[in-house]
C-alpha cells in the first residue's frame, strides 16, 4: 500500500488512514475528495439544532473505530465533513434531549470518489419525558424509590412488559424519566428496600403502577408523542398490609435446610423484592400484598444450582408457613433431525477431517415469571445428531433455536408428537430423553421492493426494514424482521409455509407492528401472502410514515 507523501500536512494523519481502499481493489493513489454535509434540524419544530454531534463511520473491512470522523453542528445547525474517501459509511447524529439510543443511527450510504453530498437535512426527534412525584404512605416525599417506564411487548415468547427507562426519586420524591420515544407507557414504582436483618424482608409500602394499582394490566396507559413532557404523574404509595410469611428453604435431594436467595413477584411479573435467607434457610416476609405471588428461590450445593418456585397468597390473619424445596435440574436430551437436507458438495479429505460439526444455540425461555439466572441453553448439532441440555429446572419453556442456513425450525416434538407453540413442559419427577428438534429445508421465499421512505431525509434513503407477522404468531418459528438493501430490494428465504403479513418501516421508526391497534391502523399498508412449501411470492411495499401521535 503506497502512502502518498504529498499530503496537506494538517490532514496527514487522517488522510493516511483513509487511504485503506476497499479490499480487492488495485493499489492506486487516491486523494480523498468526497464531502458530506448538511443541517440537523428538530423534527418537531424544523429549527436547526446547534451542538449536535455527527459521526461518520466507515463500513468497509479494515477500518476501526478510531477512523470515525466526528464533528459538531454550529449555531446554524450545519456541519461539513471533507476529504472523505469513497466507500460505504454509516451516519449517526445525536444531541442531548433528542432520540433514544437506537434512533441516533440515521442510515447507510455510499460515497463515490469526489462526490459532494452537502445538502442533507437530518431531522432529530425530541425525546419525550415523564415526570412526577412519589409520596410514601404517610404523604411525605419518598426518596430512593425506583421508577421505571415500561412498554408492552406483543411479540410471542417474550415477557409482556419491557422496562425501557429507569430512574430513582431524589430527596424531594421527584423523578424524571427522559429519553423516551413516542409510544404508550406505564409507570411502575418500587419503594426502596427497608434495611432489615438477614432472612427478613420488610415492605412498608406497596410497589405500584400509576395511578396506584398492583399489576401492569390495570395500570394507566400513558401516551406520549415526540417532545411531550408529561408532568404530574404523581403517586402516593399505599401502606403494606400486616401479612407475615415465615418459611424454610430445604434441599429436595438431601432434606437439609440450606441458605439461599429468594425473589418475590406478583403473578403478573412485577418485582417486589429479594432477600437472602439465614444460614439455616429461614426467612420471614412482612408486608407482602394479599394477592397471588410467585416466589423463586435459588441455592447451591457444591457446584450444583438448585432452584424452586412457589406460589403463595398471604392473608392478614396469622402467620403463613411456607416451605420451598430447591432441587437441582435434570438433563433434557434429544436429537436434531434434518428433513430432506440438500446434498452436500464434495469435500476434500483434508477439509473434512478439519471441519468441526457446526452447531447452533438452543435456548429455553421460561414462559412465566422472571428469567432466573442464566437461561438454559446448549449447543446442538445442526447437521443432525444427539444433544443434551444440563440442569433444567421443572417449568414451562418456549424453545428458541437458530436454524441452519437455508432451513427453518419446523417443529419441536416428543415421541413423534409436535409440541404446540414450541413450548416444553419439564416435569418435576421424570427426565426427558425424547426431545426432537426438526429442521426443514423446504421453506418458502418472499422477495420484493420497498418504495421511497417518507422520513423526509433529503439526500439519501434512510434504512428500512421489513416486519414479518405470521398469521398465528404463537405457533410460528419464522423470523420477524428482515433488512432492506440500499436499492430498496429485499429477500426473505427459508420461511415456514403459512400465511404472513408484511410491513415496511424505517429503522428509526418506533411503530410496534405487533401491537394489534397499530396493525389495525396500518392494515392497508401491509401485504398478505400465503405460501406453500417451497413457494415464492413477490411483494411491493411502501414504507409506513411514522404518525404524529402514538396509536
Amino acid at each position: 500500500m503506497t502512502r502518498l507523501t504529498l499530503c496537506i500536512p494538517l490532514l496527514c494523519v487522517g488522510a493516511v488512514t483513509l487511504y485503506a481502499a476497499p479490499q480487492g481493489e488495485p493499489e492506486t493513489v487516491i486523494e480523498p475528495e468526497a464531502e458530506l454535509g448538511g443541517t440537523i434540524i428538530s423534527a418537531k419544530t424544523g429549527e436547526p439544532l446547534r451542538g449536535a454531534r455527527v459521526t461518520l463511520q466507515p463500513n468497509w473491512r479494515g477500518m476501526r473505530r478510531e477512523n470515525r470522523k466526528q464533528t459538531t453542528t454550529g449555531l446554524n445547525g450545519q456541519f461539513l465533513l471533507r476529504k472523505l474517501a469513497a466507500g460505504q459509511y454509516t451516519l449517526q447524529a445525536e444531541k442531548t434531549g433528542y432520540e433514544t439510543r437506537r434512533g441516533t443511527r440515521i442510515g447507510q450510504f455510499k460515497l463515490a470518489q469526489d462526490e459532494s453530498k452537502t445538502k442533507l437535512v437530518i431531522p432529530l426527534r425530541p425525546a419525550a419525558v415523564i415526570t412526577g412525584r412519589i409520596l410514601d404512605s404517610y404523604g411525605e416525599p419518598l426518596a430512593g424509590a425506583r421508577v421505571g417506564a415500561l412498554r408492552r411487548n406483543f411479540q410471542p415468547g417474550s415477557r409482556a412488559w419491557d422496562v425501557v427507562q429507569i430512574t430513582t426519586t431524589d430527596d424531594l420524591g421527584e423523578y424524571r424519566l427522559y429519553g423516551l420515544s413516542m409510544g404508550k407507557y406505564i409507570v411502575g414504582i418500587s419503594p426502596p428496600q427497608e434495611p432489615s436483618q438477614e432472612g427478613a424482608f420488610i415492605l412498608e409500602q406497596l410497589p405500584a403502577f400509576y395511578p396506584g394499582v398492583l399489576t401492569p394490566e390495570e395500570a394507566a396507559l400513558l401516551k406520549v408523542s415526540w417532545g411531550t413532557e408529561l408532568e404530574a404523574i404523581d403517586m402516593k404509595l399505599a401502606p403494606a398490609p400486616a401479612t407475615v410469611i415465615s418459611g424454610l428453604l430445604a434441599d429436595g435431594d438431601t432434606g437439609e435446610a440450606l441458605m439461599g436467595y429468594l425473589t418475590v413477584q406478583t403473578d403478573g411479573g412485577a418485582q417486589l423484592g429479594n432477600l437472602q435467607t439465614t444460614e439455616d434457610g429461614r426467612f420471614a416476609l412482612y408486608g407482602l400484598p394479599s394477592t397471588d405471588l410467585a416466589i423463586w428461590a435459588t441455592s447451591r450445593r457444591s457446584r450444583l444450582m438448585l432452584m424452586a418456585r412457589g406460589k403463595v397468597r398471604p392473608s392478614e390473619s396469622g402467620v403463613e408457613e411456607l416451605q420451598l424445596i430447591v432441587r437441582s435440574g435434570r438433563p433434557v436430551s434429544g436429537k436434531v433431525v434434518l428433513e430432506d437436507p440438500p446434498t452436500q458438495p464434495e469435500q476434500s479429505e483434508a477439509s473434512q477431517s478439519q471441519s468441526e460439526p457446526r452447531t447452533s444455540m438452543l435456548q429455553l425461555h421460561p414462559t412465566t415469571g422472571r428469567r432466573f439466572g442464566r437461561p438454559h441453553r446448549a449447543r446442538i448439532p445442526i447437521e443432525g445428531g444427539p444433544f443434551e441440555i444440563q440442569d433444567v429446572q421443572p417449568a414451562e419453556y418456549r424453545i428458541d433455536v437458530y436454524a441452519p442456513p437455508g432451513a427453518y425450525l419446523r417443529a419441536i416434538g416428543r415421541s413423534g408428537k409436535a409440541l404446540e407453540g414450541f413450548t416444553l413442559k419439564v416435569p418435576h419427577d421424570s427426565t426427558i430423553t425424547d426431545l426432537e428438534v426438526r429442521f426443514a429445508f423446504n421453506g418458502a421465499a418472499i422477495s420484493g421492493t420497498v418504495k421511497e421512505g417518507a422520513f423526509g431525509l433529503e439526500g439519501f434513503n434512510a434504512d428500512a426494514r421489513i416486519i414479518i407477522i405470521p398469521d398465528e404468531p404463537e405457533k410460528s418459528s419464522a423470523r420477524t424482521s428482515s433488512q432492506v438493501a440500499e436499492d430498496g430490494s429485499f429477500e426473505i428465504t427459508a420461511l415456514p409455509p403459512g400465511g404472513y403479513t408484511l410491513f415496511a418501516v424505517e429503522n428509526r421508526s418506533t411503530l410496534d407492528l405487533w401491537d394489534p391497534d397499530v396493525q389495525r391502523a396500518f392494515r392497508a399498508s401491509g401485504e398478505h401472502v400465503s405460501l406453500d412449501a417451497k413457494g415464492t411470492a413477490t411483494v411491493d411495499l411502501t414504507v409506513i410514515k411514522e404518525p404524529e401521535e402514538p396509536l
Binding site: G51, E66, Q70, T96, E140, E198, I202, A240, T278, A284
Partner: protein
C-alpha cells in the same frame, strides 16, 4: 400507625428466623431530633439501624414515631453499632457524641436507653452539566466529595447524581463543608476514555440550597499532551495532610498533589496553560472544621518543568458587615457573590447581632451580591445596596481588585416589589377561553418564575427583588417550557420589559400568547 415490627415483636422475629438465643437480650431506645431554627424538634420517620459492632449486615432496624422516639428490643448481640438516617438529612451527633454513629456495649447494662441522635437537614447543590458551547449533557455522573478528609471514607461518603436530559443534577443531604464537585463522562469519540470537568470547589453552609452551578465538560474529540511540574512551596508552614490544588485560569481542568515535609511537590497531568494554585490544610481530628486555604502565585505550563517556586500571595477578599435596613432576618445570613455570568463565585456567612463577615480567596472581578437561600427561603431579604467605605456602588455591584477590601457593607432590605395584573384574551375580545390555562412568566436577572392566573385572569408575584424584568402570559403552556429561553424568544414583542423598584407595586395587563 401500623408498625409491623412493633406489632409482631422482636422476639417473634427471632423465633421465626431461628436465631438462637444466647441468653442475652438488650433493649435500645432513644429519640431522634432535628435542629431547626436553633431549636431541637422531634423528627419522625427516621430509620434507626443496628449492626454488629464489627461491621456486617444489618441486624435490626426500626423507624421513629411522631415523637421522634424509637425502640429496638431484644437485640441479641452485646456490641452494637447504631446509625440513624432519613433522606435529605445528615447525622450531626449520635448518643451525645459529635459523630455519625455510635457503638454501644449493652453487655454491661441491658437497658441502653436515652441513645439520642441529632440530624440536620442537608444542604443541596444543584446545577447543570454543559459542554464547551453551553449545550446540556445528559447521563453525566456528578459527585461531591469532602476532599482528602482524614476521616475514613466511610464517614464522608461521596454523594452522586446523574445529569438528566436538561443537564440538571441534584446532590442532596450534604453536611456543611467544602466539597469538590466533579463531573465524569464516558467519552464516545475516537478512542474512548473518560472526560472530566474541572473539579469545582463549593462551600455549603448548614441546610443551604446552592443552585446554578455550571460544570463544563470538555467534550471535544481531541487528544492533548500533559506535563509534569515539580518544585517547592516556600513561605508557608507545611503541616501533615497539606496539599496543593491547581486550576487552569478558565477553570476547565485541575490537578492536585501532596506536599512533602520539606515543601517539595510534583504535579502531573497538567495541560498547557495558565494555572492558579492554592495550598490547603485539612482538619486532622474528628471535628469538622473548615480547612485553611492559602492562595499561591500563578504559574504557566508549556512543557515539563522543575524548580517551580510557589509562595503565598496577598489574599484578595472582602471584609465588612450586613446592614439590615428592614425586615426580619435570621440569626445567620449567607451572602452569595455571583460573577458576571450569573454563576456563584464565593460565599460569606454573617451572624447576628453584628452580622460581620469575611471572605477571602477571590478572583479580581465584578460581582453581584445576593442573599443565600436556606430551606428554600431567602430570609425574605434582598441586597439593596453595596457600599464601600460608606459610599454606594453603582448598580449594587462589587468590584474586587487584588488585596482585601475593608469596610464593605451589604444593605439588606425586605422592601420588595410586587407585580400583579390581569391576563386578557387576544384581540378578538371574546374573553378568556374557558378551560384554558393561563400562565404568567416573570423573567428576572437570576431566575424565571411562573404563576397560574385564576379563572378571571388575575395573577400576582410577591417578593420581587428590584431589577429589570420581562413578563409574558401564555395560553396552555407548560411551566417547564416557560422556564426555557426558547419560549421567551418566540414570544418576541408580547414579552414586556420593565423595571421594578424597591417597594413598588406594579400593575400590568397582558395579552396571552396563543399556542
Amino acid at each position: 400507625m401500623r408498625d409491623l415490627r412493633t406489632q409482631i415483636g422482636r422476639r417473634f422475629l427471632g423465633l421465626l428466623l431461628g436465631i438462637p438465643s444466647l441468653g442475652f437480650s438488650a433493649d435500645v431506645t432513644g429519640v431522634v431530633r432535628e435542629m431547626r431554627d436553633g431549636r431541637l424538634e422531634p423528627l419522625p420517620r427516621v430509620t434507626v439501624i443496628a449492626r454488629p459492632a464489627d461491621g456486617g449486615r444489618v441486624y435490626a432496624s426500626t423507624k421513629t414515631d411522631a415523637d421522634g422516639a424509637y425502640a429496638l428490643r431484644n437485640l441479641l448481640s452485646p456490641r452494637i453499632q447504631l446509625t440513624a438516617r432519613r433522606a435529605g438529612f445528615y447525622a450531626h451527633s449520635a448518643g451525645g457524641h459529635d459523630d455519625r454513629q455510635i457503638v454501644l456495649d449493652c453487655s454491661v447494662a441491658t437497658d441502653c436507653s436515652g441513645v439520642d441522635f441529632e440530624l440536620r437537614r442537608g444542604a443541596v447543590i444543584t446545577g447543570r452539566v454543559v459542554d464547551e458551547i453551553g449545550e446540556p449533557l445528559q447521563d453525566v455522573n456528578v459527585s461531591a466529595q469532602l476532599p482528602e478528609s482524614s476521616e475514613s471514607t466511610r464517614e464522608a461518603p461521596r454523594v452522586g447524581s446523574r445529569s438528566d436530559d436538561r443537564g440538571i443534577f441534584r446532590l442532596a443531604g450534604l453536611q456543611p463543608g467544602d466539597y469538590l464537585l466533579t463531573a465524569k463522562r464516558r467519552r464516545r469519540g475516537p478512542g474512548e476514555s473518560e472526560t472530566h470537568s474541572t473539579p469545582v470547589e463549593i462551600q455549603v453552609g448548614e441546610g443551604e440550597l446552592f443552585g446554578s452551578v455550571e460544570l463544563i465538560v470538555d467534550d471535544s474529540p481531541v487528544d492533548f499532551e500533559t506535563f509534569s511540574v515539580s518544585g517547592k512551596l516556600v513561605g508557608v508552614k507545611v503541616e501533615g495532610g497539606g496539599s496543593i490544588t491547581v486550576h487552569s485560569r478558565a477553570r476547565r481542568y485541575g490537578s492536585g498533589a501532596q506536599v512533602k515535609e520539606d515543601g517539595s511537590f510534583v504535579l502531573s497531568n497538567l495541560r498547557e496553560g495558565e494555572y492558579e494554585a492554592r495550598y490547603t490544610v485539612r482538619a486532622t481530628s474528628g471535628r469538622r472544621r473548615s480547612p485553611m486555604r492559602t492562595k499561591l502565585n500563578r504559574f504557566s505550563v508549556d512543557g515539563d518543568r522543575s524548580g517551580l517556586v510557589l509562595q503565598p500571595v496577598a489574599p484578595t477578599g472582602i471584609r465588612g458587615r450586613l446592614i439590615i435596613e428592614s425586615g426580619d432576618p435570621d440569626k445567620m445570613i449567607r451572602i452569595r457573590l455571583l460573577n458576571k455570568d450569573g454563576n456563584w463565585a464565593m460565599g460569606a456567612t454573617a451572624e447576628a447581632p453584628e452580622y460581620k463577615f469575611e471572605s477571602r480567596d477571590f478572583e479580581p472581578g465584578e460581582y453581584r451580591a445576593a442573599v443565600g437561600v436556606f430551606f428554600s427561603r431567602d430570609n425574605g431579604l434582598f441586597v439593596k445596596e453595596v457600599r464601600i467605605g460608606g459610599e454606594a456602588t453603582t448598580g449594587a455591584v462589587l468590584h474586587v481588585r487584588e488585596g482585601v477590601i475593608e469596610d464593605v457593607e451589604f444593605v439588606l432590605s425586605d422592601d420588595f416589589g410586587k407585580v400583579h395584573g390581569r391576563v386578557k384574551a387576544p384581540s378578538n375580545g371574546t374573553g378568556l377561553r374557558k378551560g384554558a390555562q393561563y400562565t404568567v412568566g416573570l423573567k428576572g436577572p437570576n431566575r424565571i418564575r411562573s404563576v397560574q392566573a385564576d379563572q378571571r385572569g388575575r395573577f400576582s408575584f410577591d417578593e420581587i427583588t428590584p431589577g429589570e424584568y420581562q413578563i409574558c402570559a401564555w395560553e396552555d403552556m407548560t411551566r417547564s417550557r416557560i422556564r426555557s429561553d426558547e419560549a421567551w424568544e418566540e414570544a418576541g414583542a408580547a414579552a414586556r420589559t420593565f423595571p421594578v423598584e424597591a417597594g413598588s407595586d406594579i400593575e400590568i395587563d397582558l395579552t396571552a400568547v396563543q399556542p
